[in-house]
């Protein structure tokens, strides 16, 4: 296959478009059909064969524009002498000759060849930039050029010194140019790989240890996750369970045929849209986890779940209304700080929070409701009010407790987790994005 096409496909893959072998064959065939004559036709035929979604098309456009333009190679070089006064000395590397002659095209070509020789396409991480720059410069025999310049200075004659100075200028411009070229190729081939590493890291990092500067990216990740979840769960509430015959309905369907069982009916598995009541501990120890958990749940609110939420610290209030009409991120921020809410932000007291809930809002919990409690169960040695939690648990369909602490920490110090967990249907550790993702799976399937 064509080397240009091949290298373009490598760059697309680097940017995160998964191009399969069969697709690259299609692309080659398409090019053979349409030819390279018209840029727009080339672009659309490659686009049709290589990029297979709107998002990929965007990446493709970006890559195409960057790949098929080479701005950096038009960089200014010191003007060479118009006439060849001296003869080219024999031990000067070819690149030196090009610099002296001001042959920019030649230099650009040499850089390109050197880049190919040092396999610049395989650049993936920004830390590799220095290494590749050095490799390319070496392939251009920069060290030989340096030695030659030094020799010229040693010679001491006026003409030699002039040449040396010119070569030195050219050398600096060359280094600059190679550096820029590597930078650009890095952008073409590797930008996305680095991004992906950060994303993968963020999925597993503890939310409590997340650095402030990653928040923005985390929001983006959650948005992506929510979108995926919505796609997966919203469309099909009923999923045919192949193989299990629903005999009653089959009989009924056979009635028009005089009782002959022509049409079969199968049992369905329901994917439900749960009613969720969520109780959130918003004390300081919990703040980051709460932030991301709420962000996630409310993303699902529209399609997958119906949510009523309550937050508590020393006392408990309902906050569902905060989300109506406020952008999610802003609403979450308000909840975290308790701003404008009738909530007492003193010592965390699970006992009194449960008391508030059972006495004021118990009607929110029905046999269809999943209650999620998000908290570390650290109640400052107050009355844990276990029996109230038991009451909530009995009334609900399911009671899920999400604890951001790791299981070994449960029950140590003022943590009441060991006592509470007996009343829950499910207790999960929840402090990474992966845990959150698993939670959604648990929510929408009837056990």
């Amino acid at each position: 296959m064509d080397r240009v096409l091949n290298s373009f496909i490598v760059s697309l893959r680097g940017a995160g478009v998964p191009v399969s072998v069969s697709e690259s064959i299609d692309a080659a065939q398409a090019l053979a059909l349409c030819g390279y004559g018209e840029r727009r036709v080339v672009k659309s035929s490659l686009g049709a064969t290589l990029a297979k979604s709107a998002a990929e098309k965007e990446i493709f456009d970006d890559c195409f524009e960057r790949f098929f333009t080479f701005e950096s190679l038009k960089s200014p070089m010191p003007q060479g002498r118009a006439s060849g006064e001296d003869e080219m000395p024999s031990d000067m590397p070819p690149i030196g000759g090009m610099i002296l002659e001001g042959d920019m095209g030649g230099v650009a070509l040499a850089v390109r060849d050197a880049a190919r020789a040092s396999d610049l396409q395989s650049i993936r991480y920004f830390t590799q930039r220095g290494m590749f720059t050095a490799r390319i410069l070496q392939a251009l025999e920069l060290d030989r050029l340096d030695r030659y310049v030094a020799d010229l200075y040693r010679e001491g004659s006026a003409g030699a010194e002039g040449t040396a100075r010119q070569l030195e200028q050219g050398r600096d411009a060359l280094i600059d140019m190679v550096r820029r070229f590597v930078e650009e190729q890095y952008a073409v081939f590797a930008r996305e790989s680095t991004e992906r590493i950060i994303e993968r890291y963020l999925q597993d990092v503890r939310l409590t240890e997340l650095e402030e500067r990653h928040y923005e990216r985390m929001h983006m990740l959650i948005r992506k996750l929510v979108k995926r979840m919505n796609e997966r769960f919203s469309r099909r509430r009923r999923r045919a369970k192949r193989g299990a015959l629903d005999f009653k309905r089959t009989l009924r369907a056979g009635m028009p045929h005089g009782g002959l069982l022509f049409e079969t009916r199968w049992k369905k598995k329901r994917v439900n849209r749960p009613d969720v009541v969520i109780l959130c501990d918003v004390s300081r120890s919990m703040s980051t986890v709460v932030r991301f958990c709420l962000l996630m749940l409310y993303g699902l609110n529209e399609v997958v779940a119906r949510i009523r939420s309550f937050v508590f610290c020393s006392s408990l209030v309902e906050v569902s209304h905060v989300f109506d009409g406020t952008p999610i991120a802003e609403a979450v921020e308000r909840l975290r700080t308790g701003e404008g809410l009738d909530i007492h932000m003193g010592r965390t007291d699970y006992g009194s929070a449960f008391w508030d809930f059972t006495h004021r809002h118990l009607e929110a919990v029905t046999g269809k409701t999943t209650v999620i409690i998000l908290g570390d169960a650290r109640s400052n040695y107050g009355d844990p009010a276990e029996e109230l939690l038991q009451k909530i648990g009995e009334r609900s369909r399911r009671l899920i407790w999400l604890n951001p602490e790791t299981p070994p920490m449960w029950g140590t110090g003022d943590s009441e987790m060991k006592r509470y967990m007996h009343h829950c249907d499910l207790v999960m550790e929840c402090n990474t994005l992966r845990h959150l993702e698993r939670l959604v799976g648990v929510l929408v399937r009837i056990p």
Binding site: D26, A48, S53, R232, F262
Partner: protein
Amino acid sequence: MTDRDGTFKSVDGVREGLKGVGYICNTEIATTVYLAFHLEKPVLIEGPAGVGKTELAKKAAAFMNVPLIRLQCYEGLDESKALYEWKYGKQLLYTQLLRDKLDRIVSRDSDLGESIRTLHQYEDIFYSPQFLEPRPLLRALQEEQGAVLLIDEVDKADEEFEAFLLEILSDFQVSIPEIGTVRSQTRPYVFLTSNSTRELSEALKRRCLHLFIPCPQPELERAIVRYHVPGIPDRLERQLVAFIHEIRKLELKKTPSISETIDWARALILLHAEGLDRDLTRKTLNTFLKFEEDIRQVDEKLMLLVDRTLKETA
């Protein structure tokens, strides 16, 4: 298909051909159709509602002068609706009618074993092509002169159905256990459309050429409006398209696409409008905005939008 080869010589030929049957398109669309014809690959078309995805398939069929066979996808669509089904009623009716004959045939036999053997000779009768009800996919394969198969809104179908489609799209043959394998004489041209309500599987996308049709550029849209609404005053047409493009910049629940633009143009022609003004626009907002909130939002900014449009096109 030798008769059509001439029109498929070049990308421009395709564009002109499509224009001839009333589909005005850009290079990208023409290139994809051209490639689909030569590489014999299905085309997956995505894009917002109303930009002419389904229309492209219809017009391609008209252009190639082959029948269009359409399969509308929905949740729960299965093979019996898409591929073929036995005509149960007919089978049942025939067995009832032929009961006497069957009795006579069987009565000659001495024992049960022999009767079964006798019946075995006849069993294929009720599972023959006469009792087969072909559904769109099978019909497309059977069409001798080739056809355009439009699989509309494939994202609404279940994943299982998508997997089943893969098989057909790669081999263009199906096996019906009782009859045998049906292979297509001429490969149908397949267009799939999707509104991206869910991600389609990688495998399906890999087999298709992908075409994303966005809302068109102003010049293209003007050409389309001119084509569909002949006799529209030049000034009105320019203002109308500019206004629609202004509206697309707003954050609406449903941004108007080409079909809405055309509807609006037709409505304005009926009202004998020569140019756009605020009052007229307000009265006809509901022809291209389909949500109460959208109408309210545009109404609030109407003065600004109309003024900007008029200034732009002045």
